[in-house]
Amino acid sequence: MSNGISAGGPEDVLDWLHARGKQRSSAVPEFDVERTISRARAARDAGAVDFWSVLSPTERRAFESAADRRTFPAGTALMREGAPAGEVMVIVDGWTKVCLEEDGRDRIIAERGPGDLVGEGATIPGNVRSASVIALGTVQALVMTTADYAAFVSEHPGVPDLVEKQTYDRRTDRPGPVLPDA
């Protein structure tokens, strides 16, 4: 069994996987539902994946003209957990990690890269950052104040819906949608 499916492996992969799954599920380690929920909420508040790709050319121009282009050196924070949330950003170039402080350590809960929107939780007035976003290399981003973003969204009413849909379908290299059969 420890040889897996190669080198004279089992005739039937499905039976082998099933037996392995049964064995593993008899010794599932402990998981914390509260922690999972808070991480997932923070990842959601940290923004939307592939935001830029769902904007029309007109919407992109409008966003760019209302935003500042800013460069963040590697290791610097685009936003800090617990700080007041006054801006949203679209990453133009480079990668970031989204971190939560748990038990005094940084835990990475998500990654955000080119085309992704970060800091969308800022659109709720008086909100503070639910997570930190740290540049992994040099990062270029379009930075917009919450007020300008609210104006942008109200001028382009299709935007929030598109963001939600796109985020839900993200990372789907798979052929079919995740949705149940119609």
């Binding site: 420890s2 040889n3 897996g4 499916i5 190669s6 080198a7 004279g8 492996g9 089992p10 039937d12 992969v13 499905l14 996987l17 099933h18 037996a19 392995r20 799954g21 049964k22 064995q23 593993r24 599920s25 599932v28 380690p29 998981f31 539902v33 999972t36 929920i37 991480r39 997932a40 909420r41 990842a43 959601r44 990668w95 990690k97 748990e102 350590r105 940084d106 835990r107 990475i108 809960i109 990654e111 992994l136 939600e164 985020t167 839900y168 990372r171 290299d173 798979r174 052929p175 079919g176 949608p177 995740v178 949705l179 149940p180 059969d181």
Partner: protein, 187 residues
């Protein structure tokens, strides 16, 4: 391993009113399925966490489903598909981020398989994730150690449907192994 006696009743129960209640009720089951597929703590947590994230984003749709059983089926499908993504592209995310395993604060469980066996297995998951959606979910839950009736209850489908998907999948996989020579040792 025996099906929860309440499992049959859930299919017709009134739907959950919010994403968190549904997620909490299904949590142990989701964790069990994801862990059985992934075999380590960190990836299991990622799959389940992403599942809840996606559930929140899809709540307008999921909240409107008529029964709790359909909502749970929807959620378990999300998590199974998250797990498949990880199985198909193991470590991709962390390699791209250049993050050492230690930085995540969770030790990676030792892998008891050889490099070749792991690569073979990754290719098996690739084939499985390219199955049509219900089939890949049935096969994944079977691989997670669930029995046919448990799979049927979780996906809200008939046992005969489960059986026929497994049977097709078996044929497809053995055809693939014949064609590629994978997993056939020195034959």
């Amino acid at each position: 391993m025996t099906a929860d006696p309440g499992e049959a009743a859930i299919s017709s129960r009134a739907p959950y009113g919010d994403a968190e209640s549904l997620f909490r009720a299904a949590y142990d089951d989701l964790v069990r399925a994801a862990y059985a597929l992934l075999g380590n703590h960190a990836d299991t947590e990622d799959a389940v966490q992403n599942g809840f994230h996606k559930l929140m984003l899809a709540w307008t749709r999921v909240g409107g489903l008529p029964t709790a059983g359909e909502q749970r089926a929807y959620l378990i499908k999300i998590v199974v598909n998250e797990a498949l993504q990880i199985l198909r592209y193991p470590y991709r995310k962390w390699e791209r981020l250049g993050v050492a395993a230690g930085e995540r604060g969770v030790p990676r469980e030792s892998v008891d398989e050889s490099v070749q066996a792991r690569e073979d297995l990754r290719l098996v998951w690739k084939v499985i994730s390219e199955f049509p959606e219900t089939r890949r979910e049935v096969v994944s839950l079977h691989a997670a150690g669930f029995e046919y009736e448990e799979i049927a209850a979780r996906l809200n489908i008939k046992i005969s449907t489960v059986r026929s998907h497994i049977s097709y999948a078996r044929q497809q996989l053995s055809g693939w192994r014949r064609a590629t020579g994978r997993g056939r040792g020195n034959e």
